[in-house]
């Protein structure tokens, strides 16, 4: 295929106008040293038909048809068609960062409405226009806390998503930030304060990675006693059934925003949801849209508080983020508006109820138990006598994506399989899952 409009005549005419005779003359000022002597080893062009059958072929190597019980931040919730049809409008898809607000009111207002909804849901006054994903938002939260408190130390619960912790460690090392991890006992974070350096922030996940619900108040109190920020990584789809981090007095909330309007997408593009308390506004990473008036006093929206950003502040910027996940935020806004308060509450309620139904059914199986016997929401860690990797393989043969084996990230929970449930799972699917699990464990 060829997406350049130029005909051979066009090219000749333009080259001629420039006093050149062939395309390669456009590069004649490049030093010979950088011009490769051998030709590039690249595939032949394909027609549209061929490209499509190639992609179809690769797609057939995936098992996206499995009934999904995997979670860990990415969930198989019902995604209403209206979300895709509105979000995929070319005016949103093929525009870029709304630098020219006069012709970007569409994206700007959608992002403004997204920010407003996130602020309300998290109970925190300011939300940005999206970050890359949940885990990298954790890193931005750490940077914000360290900058705010001027202490290069954070305390982090092992209940925080393993990938979030890994990313923080990856980058913290470079910036000389000390990341002190605190263990899970009985599935809940216990803070081993002794001898730990003074933290700029305490970070938990609510619910934590094992699905267990943490104690907001205890964390807030401990953070206060250390003059540290309280930061929570939350499950955004549970904000209709669990109280908001803002309500719990937390300073920063971040989340993997995929469940808001985005398909699972093999993990990307998704979005990082990020909201902070008012006094942290000027340390907020990422884009922010504000409401204002134009020269004729018409309501208008525009990017604001740009002074925090890399293109203005350069080496002193609060973050280096430029291209973000705006389109995913637009999807989130549409989905949240479609859900409405009752819808969001219902999704949370049904996910939790069905998770407990499934957990009870599975517990009945011989030698099957919950890895952590504590109050959970819509996800739980199962412990079975079989190797979870094997379980996943055998369950796939029966049509189920059984969950996520956690032994790698949590050796202390050897044999653990993290099982997630959404409102989308029918009782038939839940019962089918239990039955299949029984078979699998029987011949394991």
């Amino acid at each position: 295929m060829d997406f350049t409009p130029h005909t051979a005549d066009d090219v000749a005419r333009m080259l001629n106008h420039l006093g050149l005779s062939e395309p390669d003359d456009l590069f004649s000022h490049l030093p010979d040293a950088v011009r490769p002597k051998t030709s590039f080893d690249l595939p032949e062009p394909l027609s549209e038909l061929e490209v499509m059958s190639h992609i179809d072929g690769l797609g057939r190597l995936n098992r996206s048809d499995l009934i999904c019980f995997a979670g860990g931040g990415i969930y198989d919730h019902h995604l209403p068609p209206v979300v895709r049809s509105l979000t995929m409008r070319p005016e949103f898809v093929t525009s870029y960062t709304p630098y020219q607000s006069e012709v970007s009111q569409g994206v700007l207002q959608m992002l403004f409405e997204y920010q407003s909804m996130v602020a309300t849901l998290t109970g925190l006054p300011v939300a940005n226009a999206s970050l890359y994903d949940g885990p990298s938002s954790g890193l931005e939260a750490v940077n914000l806390a360290v900058a705010e408190k001027g202490r290069p130390v954070v305390w982090i619960s092992r209940g925080v998503h393993p990938h979030t912790r890994q990313i923080i460690v990856t980058f913290a090392h470079a910036r000389g930030i000390d990341v002190v991890e605190h263990p899970l006992v009985e599935g809940r974070t216990t803070w081993s304060v002794e001898g730990a350096p003074e933290p700029a922030a305490l970070i938990i996940a609510q619910p934590n990675y094992l699905g267990v619900i943490e104690d907001y108040g205890a964390v807030r109190a401990l953070a206060d006693s250390h003059d540290a920020l309280a930061i929570a990584e939350i499950d955004p789809m549970l904000l209709g059934v669990l109280r908001s981090p803002g309500n719990a007095g937390f300073d920063v909330a971040f989340a993997e925003g995929q469940p808001y309007g985005n398909p699972m997408s093999f993990g990307g593009p998704v979005l990082g949801v990020f909201a902070v308390a008012g006094d942290l506004l000027r340390k907020l990473p990422g884009r922010l849209v504000g409401e204002t008036l134009d020269t004729e006093a018409r309501t208008a929206y525009t990017l604001t508080l740009r002074a925090r950003e890399q293109d203005i502040r350069r080496e002193k910027a609060s973050s280096n983020i430029c291209t973000n996940q705006s389109l995913n935020a637009v999807a989130a806004a549409v989905h949240l508006a479609w859900l409405g308060p009752q819808g969001l509450a219902e999704v949370g309620h049904q996910s939790v109820q069905k998770a407990h139904y499934l957990a009870d059914e599975l517990r009945r199986l011989p030698e099957v138990e919950l890895a952590a016997d504590a109050a959970f929401a819509r996800e739980f860690a199962l412990r079975t006598p079989a190797d979870p990797e094997v379980v996943v393989t055998k369950m796939a043969e029966r049509g189920y994506l059984a969950g996520i084996p956690i032994s790698g990230d949590y050796p202390e929970y050897r044999g653990g399989l993290l099982v997630a449930v959404t409102e989308k799972r029918t009782r038939a699917e839940l019962d089918g899952y239990s039955a299949a699990m029984q078979e699998v464990l029987a011949d394991a």
Partner: protein, 487 residues
Amino acid sequence: MPDGAGRAASSPLVGGIPEPTLDAFSVAGRRASSFPPLDVPEQRLDLPESTTQSPGLPEVAERDLVAHVTRLAHRNFAVDLGAYPLGSCTMKYNPKVCDWAAEHPAFRDLHPAAPAALTEGALEVISEIEGILCELTGMARATFQPPAGAAGEMTGLLIMRAYHESKSRHPGVVIIPDSAHGTNPASVTLGGYRALQIPSNKRGMVDIDALRAAVDENVAGLMLTNPNTLGLFETDIVEIAKVIHDVDGLVYYDGANLNAILGVTRPGDMGFDIVHSNLHKTFATPHGGGGPGAGPVAVVEHLAEFLPGPIPVRIDGRLRWEQPKRSIGRVHGHHGNFLVVLRALTYMRALGGEGLRRVAERSVLNARYLESLLSEDFEIPYPDPCMHEFVASAAALKRATGVRAMDVAKALLDHGFHAPTMYFPLVVEEALMVEPTETESPETVEALAQALNEIAAAAHDDPQYVQSSPHRTPVSRPDDVLAARHP
């Protein structure tokens, strides 16, 4: 008229007055969503931290939601509506066949934690595009975790650090030219380095003597865009790389401008060690109103062991995830912006080697042609021929008429074009950075030149008119100061 009325008055088609926010359409009890009744026996759970308080969201009917968002879409410019010569952003046409690929259920509905054996198609996608990207950049291995260019920069800087630490060295400085994009210095700081900025010479390129003077054992490396942000090819690049390599520093390639050299030359041929590419620029993935993008990082062989993991590795024919030996660790929650990567692969396979080379030729041809058509009101501050974009200065125009680069940009909106990038790079006064891209026809390039020239002419005749533009858009020059008060 009630604010939340379902009339289309905010659509420019019938008026273009402001569209209220969703709250105006919200009425207690209205809702769009519906769910099946709970089909498992309901339990009393009394979960800790639970709430009965209804989350504060607008309550709107699906019909009103659809109309609201559709009207907003009509208030937004996009590549699909017309030319978008926003310099440094490569706003080329985004092929619809790539949308098709990104909506393919086999990929769209795939969970990232499913084991490799159940997601081989996805791993094949990553491994196939890795091969093509490495061939185009002259690198050995790549990671597709970085979700954007800036994230790629951070990743590159961590690899730089890991490299030096592997030799138990701890240099503290990374050099960048004063024409560098803002993400470069920001990344350097966040990467734990000090950014040392060196001035450009009068050709708008890295001043090799200034560079030599700046380089010492404390230099970890250099970040460079080539063609640089002025749209000029750094002709001393081989020498520049050597200066850095002489202190065993690494040279990082900011791939934002890779479009100009596809199939012509490679960062690897120039001496770069680490390369990020912006798939949302060079490889036609849509910009989504600000994102998502993708910023894969490719490196030379001896740096491959430091790449973030996991990466796909072929073990007797089948791809599996593996952590590079001395990996810096993870930089994305999962596998990066995978569907964006899938779009880019679709694009690369459609174009093939020839097509990709054609992209470079025609993006440079369009830029050079456009530059040649502009009136003298737009000064080109540097003598070298431009590559895929060029930076013009409205400084003289401003002195003569008071009309600034921003005014020219706004006036261009009234002509049906998106504006160029303004006031970047900082080294050019009243900068207008123009990138037509290869997907615009010669007629479009000519119309764009004509529009810019007409605006310059109008600036001389009636500067106020230009300074108060745009006049045809639904809103004009929103008040930034006021905005900062209601974030």
